[in-house]
């Protein structure tokens, strides 16, 4: 079995399994906890059901912008770059189509009802580079900012590593850099993605799911009170 066979075969299956089971375990472990009904008389019904705060908190209030602009801009830069590269790079779309056919017996068009668009390689390279640069910037910021340095732990640094690794290995594989055979570069790229999947349920990457739950829960409570969102 070559490294690529391993990365495409058992490593992929195991990492996806750990990802799915781990994410479900962590979410169920929280969502199955009891919750008490709030018996206070609401100032007004929570008409937005927490959705308003989910949307509003996507950008800080004007009053808070001065101290947080760097984190917000860098955060958006690497998230958007990462997601664009993940979902709109042509080989990734083909990869997802393969998986879709293998698992569900239908291609992406059958699954989502429309053809999945792709972006030109040049744009993907650009957004990936922006994403990597932003990730490096946030790491430096984590080292030099006294607040972030104090509150950081292993999870912060390792989550950073497993996030930047697929971007870097992907760019290296695409550019055929490092002087390695393409199959080996691709295998390393796949393994880096699998590392991300394995770590995902255990660390702070889970905020991809919990962010909506946390904002929504606070939104519901605050809306009932008519409190500031």
């Amino acid at each position: 079995m070559t490294l690529l066979d391993f990365a495409r075969g058992p490593a992929l299956q195991w990492s996806v399994t750990i990802f799915i089971v781990g994410v479900l375990w962590r979410l169920l472990g929280v969502f199955l906890l009891r919750t008490r009904k709030d018996l206070s008389e609401p100032r007004k019904p929570a008409a937005w059901k927490g959705l308003k705060l989910i949307a509003l908190r996507s950008w800080p209030r004007r009053e808070f912008l001065e101290g947080t602009a760097f984190g917000e801009v860098m955060g958006y830069a690497f998230h958007v770059g990462f997601l664009m590269a993940l979902f709109f790079f042509a080989p990734h779309v083909l990869f997802f189509a393969d998986i879709s056919r293998g698992l569900l017996g239908t291609d992406l068009r059958g699954l989502v009802g429309f053809g999945w668009p792709t972006l030109p390689n040049g744009i993907i390279t650009l957004v990936s580079a922006v994403s990597v640069a932003a990730l490096v910037a946030v790491l430096i910021h984590r080292f030099v900012n006294p607040v972030k340095r104090l509150i950081s732990n292993f999870d912060d640094y390792f989550s950073w590593f497993v996030t930047i690794a697929p971007l870097v290995t992907g760019m290296v594989a695409f550019s055929h850099l490092a002087g390695w055979p393409y199959e080996r570069l691709l295998a390393v790229h796949l393994l880096s993605v699998e590392l991300l999947l394995v770590w995902f349920p255990f660390g702070k990457l889970m905020h991809a799911f919990t962010i909506f739950a946390a904002r929504g829960a606070t939104g519901m409570i605050f809306e009932r009170r008519g409190a500031s969102l």
Binding site: L39, T218, G219, R225
Partner: protein
Amino acid sequence: MTETTHTRRPEPLEFDKPRVSIAKPEYRFDMQGEMPEAERVERAMKSFVKDFGRTAAIYMESCIHCGMCAEACHFYEVTKDPKYTPIWKLEPFKQAYKREYGPFAVIYRALNLKRRVTVEELQEWQQLIYDSCTVCGRCSLMCPMGIDIATLVSQARHGMFNAGLIPHELWAVTERARLEGSPLGATPKVFKDRLEWLADDHEVEIPVDKADADVLCTMSSIEIMKYPDSVVATARIMNHLGVNWTFRLDGYEATNFGLLAGNAAAQKQLTMKLIDAAVACGAKTLILPECGHAYTALRWMGANMYGEPLPFRVLHIAEFLAEQVHEGKLRLKKVPKSVTFHDPCQVVRRGGAIEAPRDVLKALGVELREMHPTKGTNWCCGGGGGVVANHRADDLRYKVFRIKMEQIEKTQAELPVTTCANCRQTFDDGQAHFKWDVKMHSLLELVADNLIEDER
């Protein structure tokens, strides 16, 4: 739960002396009761997770350590000390959650990935949880994950209380409230005597212990002991409106130090007194005084303590006044002055009564000059959450108070007004400390002073 309290060094309680006379205290932590260290930690963690429901667990799972909450905290703003980062104030509790309670607790324990919290850490964190957090919730507005950090701090205070690790003064005033009915000595007898004296002195009728009343009025101990004009103002306004109202000696004290200290049993006891008094006289409305945390304790937590929806409405006095203005029942003389309004965090930011005090000010015809920032993002005075009662926090609180001074001075308003006696006390103390020539005023008293009497 405990009958003794120890400080690391002797620290007299000096509630009745002017606050500026307090000598600068050394850093200290306080402990109540005698118990092995391991038991303290166990108690802290157990009671922290005891009330853990879905929402608190979601919060615990969601922090990404972005540190942005620091930017919203007044204690960080004035010191730039990273230990005042709001989420850091919960660090031992976050660690305990992961190790003892989270979905992967088994793994964390088995591999010792999160070590046990020590009593020394809890002692160190006492200052962060009590002295440098007013539970104002400004950080909760900042958090990009939407975590309500202030609620988690309150929950951590439950743990600290059960471990016998709360500041001396907060423990003492809560005990006094639990045993005597008031944290500042406004016992039923004292309150009754005061009401009689105020009624005579101000020639105002103050009904007490009516068997049937539509409205039950309550006061805070700060008002009863320090700002008795607020008691008179309440009576004047109620009489002016022709309301069938009363004070009751079995439920008049809205201050709830149980909430601030983290003593859930005391909180419930104090809350139930008010609820029982309102039920006893068949009140349709219970009016809370100018007190921020009293509003949180009864308006938003009261029914949950009672176990069912309250059989009466709960209104902050500013909400009641605004309602009377809207209904055309409360007519006020115009006050030709510029006013700036200090938003009490628990009433406005977290309580939702954002426009009510402003509507009353509008009815008074003042020129309202808003601070910057204002309303939901206004800065806390620094005295909430029990901080003003906690002497060892004085120096830090004065630093924070400078933010308010600057905010108010920038408006150049003639009259600063608020609707929380605790904020007012913090302002009075800050005014004395800095020899500042600005005096905070009560919205309630401003209304009482400007009633149009002859139309009734």
